[in-house]
């Protein structure tokens, strides 16, 4: 199994380790719930070094990415700016979701998921060979990644790593900057403020220890999953994959379809009728926990939960579900939970943002 540069730190902290896409990663360090709350209330950090940064360098980098990605990197006009996008197949199916950073006119950086990294790289290499042979694609396995997240994340990062402050203090949301050897970006996967740090792998253990000493709590994949679910963010391989389009995955806002630009998958997206869409669900009452693959009965037909769990912030069960198109927030559905059918309410994700509930209060306190 692959190990990140922080593997020893996880062992020393008695992490419960699991296989995640071939990487031995921390699930939690004792209590997933406490790690979740640390990120909503203070600061937590995640080892995300299993994800892969790919640098795309050359004069055609921007044009190449405009054709490769569903979102339009022409939207990136200021150096350091980041954009979320899907990478699509010709048939519109989602190969992966990623963040792309505009670093220089001739240098972009994309960060892709661990489980899809090899496939993505091969796909991008194929496109490069056909459309932009002079371009260089460089996988950056020499970099480690640490996501520091929470309302106190920025302050504690500066306390632990003061050399990052000058370059990162002016950063707006979804911007990154180089600070010496470290690339600091004001991005994340939790719905909280914070940074994602990319740094040379040999430097990562010391940075991790300094952050821990400053009171940033190590958090595992378990809390990462409940935090992103509350934030209404898709998990690739669970809420979407090659069999769904971004339009069926709640990601229409990330697809630039209106202009003349062509990109891989565009023709398919324009020709397909979307019969499914992704919605949020909140369980009414306390009859169980919503989980992936549970069947959903809606007025307009059947659907299925793609991600579900217990929301530690809301203290109730929430889910993302793929439902027939046309379901509306406020509508009640029934979910098959074990041998029962439980009532749930359709809501528009996110469920939680910056520590605050965004779901309608009318749905609380329903009878069991």
């Amino acid at each position: 199994m692959h190990k990140t540069p922080l593997h020893s730190a996880h062992l020393e902290a008695s992490a419960r380790l699991v296989d995640f896409a071939g990487w031995e990663m921390p699930l939690h360090y004792g209590s997933q719930l406490e790690e979740h709350h640390a990120v909503r209330r203070g600061a937590g950090m995640f080892d995300t070094s299993h994800m892969l940064a790919i640098d795309i360098e050359g004069a055609q980098a921007r044009e190449f990415l405009r054709g490769a990605l569903a979102n339009d990197v022409a939207r990136l006009t200021k150096p350091g700016k980041a954009l979320y996008s899907c990478l699509l197949r010709e048939d519109g199916g989602v190969l992966d979701d990623l963040i792309v950073y505009f670093l220089r006119a001739d240098l972009f950086r994309v960060i892709v998921n661990a489980g899809t990294a090899d496939k993505d790289f091969a796909w991008l290499e194929g496109l490069r060979a056909r459309h932009a042979p002079q371009l260089a694609l460089r996988p950056r396995r020499d970099l480690a990644m640490i996501a520091v997240q929470g309302p106190q994340a920025r302050a504690k990062t500066w306390q632990a790593l003061p050399a990052l402050k000058a370059a990162s203090e002016p950063l707006g949301a979804f911007f990154g900057a180089q600070a010496g050897e470290t690339f600091v970006a004001r991005t994340g996967y939790t719905g909280e403020d914070g940074f994602e740090l990319l740094l040379p792998a040999p430097r990562a253990p010391e940075a991790w220890q300094r952050l821990a000493a400053a009171g940033v709590r190590p958090c595992g994949l378990g809390a990462r999953d409940t935090l992103r679910l509350e934030a209404g963010m898709n998990l690739y391989g669970q809420d979407m994959d090659q069999t769904v389009t971004p339009l069926e995955a709640g990601l229409a806002w990330t697809v630039a379809l209106e202009d003349a630009r062509d990109f891989v998958g565009k023709a398919a997206l324009l020709s397909k009728k979307n019969v499914r869409e992704l919605a949020g669900l909140v369980l009414l009452g306390r009859g169980g926990v919503l989980r992936a693959h549970q069947k959903v009965h809606a007025a307009s037909g059947m659907g299925e939960i793609t991600s579900g769990g217990f929301s530690p912030t809301l203290e109730r069960s929430i889910a993302l579900a793929r439902l027939p198109a046309g379901c509306a927030p406020g509508e009640r559905v029934q979910v098959e939970v074990r041998d029962k059918r439980l009532d749930a309410l359709i809501v528009k994700p996110p469920f939680v943002r910056h520590g605050k509930s965004l779901i309608p209060q009318t749905s609380s306190g329903a009878p069991r």
């Binding site: 719930l33 926990v289 769990g309 530690p312």
Partner: protein
């Protein structure tokens, strides 16, 4: 010792305490709570429900997954720990204080069929 000597155990990770009045108090072991992770939901059986040995009778859901808890022996449910419904995490904090239900064993109950702590731990290895 995370699995106390004075309790009995099952291979499906329940602990059993034989009370002075002959009833059996049942919970899940330290090993079980640790493997499950933080509990967020517990569904207890109805008092009066008659259970066959090894019948699923409690649902515990953690942050990770749902699991069943089984009746260690045949019997009737005579009490349940209602306080857990509002505070499932008590099972993680002290699995031996946070009992789930109490059984009146059916006739023919043989305590010798339950495991002692050493035999239970041997099964975990």
């Amino acid at each position: 010792m995370t699995h106390p000597e004075h309790l009995k155990y099952t291979a499906s990770h329940e602990w059993v305490r034989i009370e002075a009045d002959g009833t059996l108090t049942v919970g899940i072991t330290e090993h079980a709570q640790d493997a499950l992770g933080d509990l967020v939901f517990i569904e207890l059986p109805a008092v009066g429900r008659k259970l066959a040995a090894d019948e699923a009778c409690v649902v515990v859901e953690s942050v990770k997954a749902a699991s069943d808890v089984y009746a260690p022996v045949a019997g009737e449910v005579v009490a349940v720990n209602e306080a857990l419904v509002a505070a499932p995490a008590s099972v993680n904090q002290d699995p031996y204080a946070a009992w789930l239900f109490r059984l009146k064993a059916a006739a023919g109950f043989d305590p010798g069929k339950l495991l002692d702590a050493a035999a239970y731990e041997k099964g975990l290895a």
